[in-house]
Subunit: 155 residues, 2 copies
DNA sequence: GCTAACAATGTTACAATATAACATCCCAGA
DNA sequence: TCTGGGATGTTATATTGTAACATTGTTAGC
């Protein structure tokens, strides 16, 4: 998400993918939901719900918190975005079809977020839950720290 | 934390450990901080800040949100409790000295939380962050789902 | 012991995040 | 055309968390 060549292209891809998946699953990808998804992606980093609300109100002055949260709920439920629990923020998912295995690196300095979707992590987590006789539904793995760019910059 | 023989014993152990660590580190383990730590442990599961505030107000009617949050900040900072980001709740840490490597299994049904502090997980995560040239400061791994007890119960 | 410095707590006010509840709209299918 | 259910509008409120400044308490040097 961060090192994309052309972010507008990146956004369009995400929206098209969502569109296709919604068609297949008979989900209603309404204008509102599409606009919120676009906004989440446009931000190019974790987006706060009330910031999204403010943006939305520029074109839709009567928008309310529930407007945004309901769209976000839909997008989360169907795997198009993630909630970043440690930031109370939302970020686009670049592979909705493998959405269970998304892990995040969050830079405390530049606030950028990147996915680190290592199957090894998935495997070890599965092993651990199995060992604990636990049936996992959802995994939140968020690693905060400092990204390369910020480390180099501060040297 | 969940399968302890005698939870009062369990609480006392946690408080004594905190007491000892605070002495060693020259930290002030005040009555307030001790009481909040006790309350977090007493709950035997993730505790919400405002529930703690309500309890605290029973003995200290003038307690305010900041009272609780400041104590929680101290306890988090020094490794005696964790914030469970996905629940906005707080839970006691049973090994403050290895506090970087605490991962959680959270049952959606009974709301119990258990640690699954597998060094293998730590190793894989370290490998992944290294590969991404990322310097990790803090790791949040929270796995929600269903625990054995609840699964057996519903069979 | 006095006192300056600083940490901890008290207190007030408010910011930020999120949901409940009910009304209305809209559209697909009978 | 009618109608049922999902989506959205709307109002109100719940929940979570901080900022800012006043006061108190503790400690270390004098
Ligand atoms: Zn994802
Ligand atoms: Zn950075
Ligand atoms: Zn811990
Ligand atoms: Zn359970």
């Amino acid at each position: 998400m961060i090192h994309c060549e052309d972010h507008e292209e990146c956004i369009l891809t995400a929206i098209e993918m969502a569109d296709r998946i919604c068609s297949q699953k008979q989900l209603k990808f309404t204008d509102l939901r599409k606009e919120i998804l676009r906004m989440v992606w446009e931000g190019h980093g974790p987006q706060k719900a009330y910031d999204l609300l403010n943006k939305l109100q520029q074109t839709n002055p009567s928008a309310k918190p529930a407007t945004v949260y309901r769209a976000l709920d839909f997008l989360i439920k169907n795997g198009f975005i993630h909630k970043v629990a440690s930031l109370n923020a939302f970020v686009g998912c670049s592979h909705p079809l493998r959405h269970q295995e998304c892990y995040f690196l969050i830079c405390d300095d530049c606030k950028n977020i990147s996915e680190c979707c290592d199957p090894n992590i998935t495997a070890i987590i599965q092993a651990t839950t199995k060992q604990n006789q636990f049936v996992a539904k959802n995994t939140t793995l968020e690693i905060s720290g400092h990204c390369t760019e910020c480390l180099n910059r501060s040297e």
